[in-house]
C-alpha cells in the first residue's frame, strides 16, 4: 500500500530555476574570488612586513649605516632611476598579461 501513496504528479520547479541558480553560482564564485584576493593581499603584506621587519631587526644598524653612506655620495644613486622604471614596466606588463590571459579563461 505504501506504493499507492506515490504522488501522481511530481512537484515541478519554476521555469527560471536554472537561470536563477546559475546567477547565484556566478555571484558565489565572484564573492569567493574576492575573498581569495583579499586573503592573498593580506598574506603578501604580512610576509613583506615580516621580511623587511626581520631584516631590519637583524641587520638594522648595518642597513642604516649603508644608507647614510650612499646618501652622502650622490653618484651611487645613479642606478635608482633606471631600477624604478624597470620595476614600473614589469608591474604594467604583469597587469596586462593577467587581464588578457587569466581573465579570458573564465567563461
Amino acid at each position: 500500500m505504501l506504493r499507492a501513496l506515490e504522488p501522481k504528479e511530481r512537484p515541478s520547479l519554476p521555469s527560471n530555476f536554472a537561470y536563477t541558480t546559475m546567477r547565484r553560482i556566478r555571484l558565489e564564485r565572484q564573492k569567493s574570488e574576492q575573498r581569495q584576493r583579499i586573503v592573498a593581499v593580506c598574506c603578501v603584506l604580512a610576509v613583506t612586513i615580516l621580511g623587511i621587519g626581520g631584516l631590519f631587526y637583524m641587520f638594522g644598524a648595518t642597513i642604516w649605516q649603508s644608507m647614510v653612506t650612499i646618501s652622502k655620495r650622490p653618484e651611487d644613486l645613479s642606478l635608482a632611476l633606471p631600477t624604478f622604471f624597470c620595476l614600473a614596466f614589469f608591474a604594467l606588463l604583469n597587469r596586462w598579461l593577467a587581464r588578457h590571459y587569466v581573465g579570458r579563461n573564465k567563461t
Binding site: 500500500m1 505504501l2 501513496l5 504522488p7 536563477t20 546559475m22
Partner: protein, 178 residues
C-alpha cells in the same frame, strides 16, 4: 556528451554547461527535498542550495556514483541540517519486539487507511521518510539509497522493516504511543 566529460569541461571553466545538470536533475532533487520540506518556497531554496553546493564541490566528484545520486545525497544532507536548525521535533517510538509481520501487513495494506498512513509517514524522522521516498516512490537501487543516506547497504532492509513496524504503531495507537 558523457556526464563525466561534461563535468571536466565545467571544471575547465565552461561554467554555463552546469545548466544541463540543473535542467536534467532539478526536478528529481526538488521531489526529494519536498518530501521533507512541504513548504514550496523553502524546498525551492534548499534545492538551489544543494546545486550551488554541488557546483562548489564539483572537483571532489570522482564518479563513484552517478551525478544524480551524488547531488541527491548533497540535497539530503543540506535539508537535514536545515531541519535541525529549525529544531523540528520528530516522534521517537519504541519498537515492539512481540509484533508479528502479519499484523503489520494487515494494517499497512488496508487501502481504506491511506490518509492515516500518509499522516503517519509525516511523523517519521527525516531519514526514515527519505528511505520510504527513495525505496517505494523512486524505486532506487539499494546501493544508491545507502549512498544518499550514508548508511551500510546491508542495513536498508532492516531499516525498512523497522519503519513498517513504526508506521503500524502510529496507525494503530496514534501519536500518543511514544
Amino acid at each position: 556528451m558523457d556526464e563525466q566529460r561534461l563535468i571536466a569541461r565545467i571544471l575547465d571553466g565552461h561554467e554555463s554547461d552546469y545548466g544541463y545538470f540543473l535542467e536534467r536533475y532539478g526536478g528529481e532533487v526538488f521531489a526529494i527535498v519536498s518530501r521533507l520540506v512541504p513548504n514550496r518556497e523553502d524546498a525551492e531554496e534548499l534545492t538551489q542550495d544543494a546545486f550551488v553546493r554541488a557546483y562548489s564541490r564539483l572537483d571532489s566528484f570522482i564518479g563513484r556514483s552517478s551525478f544524480s545520486t551524488w547531488v541527491c545525497r548533497i540535497a539530503y544532507t543540506t535539508t537535514v541540517s536545515w531541519l535541525r536548525k529549525k529544531r523540528i521535533k520528530y516522534l521517537s517510538i519504541e519498537d515492539k519486539p512481540n509484533l508479528s509481520d502479519r499484523e503489520v501487513d494487515e494494517v499497512l495494506d488496508n487501502e481504506s487507511r491511506l490518509d492515516e498512513l500518509r499522516n503517519a509517514i509525516a511523523l517519521l524522522r527525516p531519514d526514515e521518510q527519505m528511505l520510504l521516498e527513495l525505496y517505494y516512490f523512486e524505486s532506487r537501487p539499494m546501493a544508491d539509497i545507502a549512498y544518499i543516506l550514508d548508511v551500510e547497504p546491508g542495513t536498508i532492509a532492516t531499516r525498512l522493516h523497522r519503519i513498517r513496524r513504526k508506521l503500524y504503531t502510529l496507525m494503530k495507537h496514534g501519536k500518543d504511543n511514544k
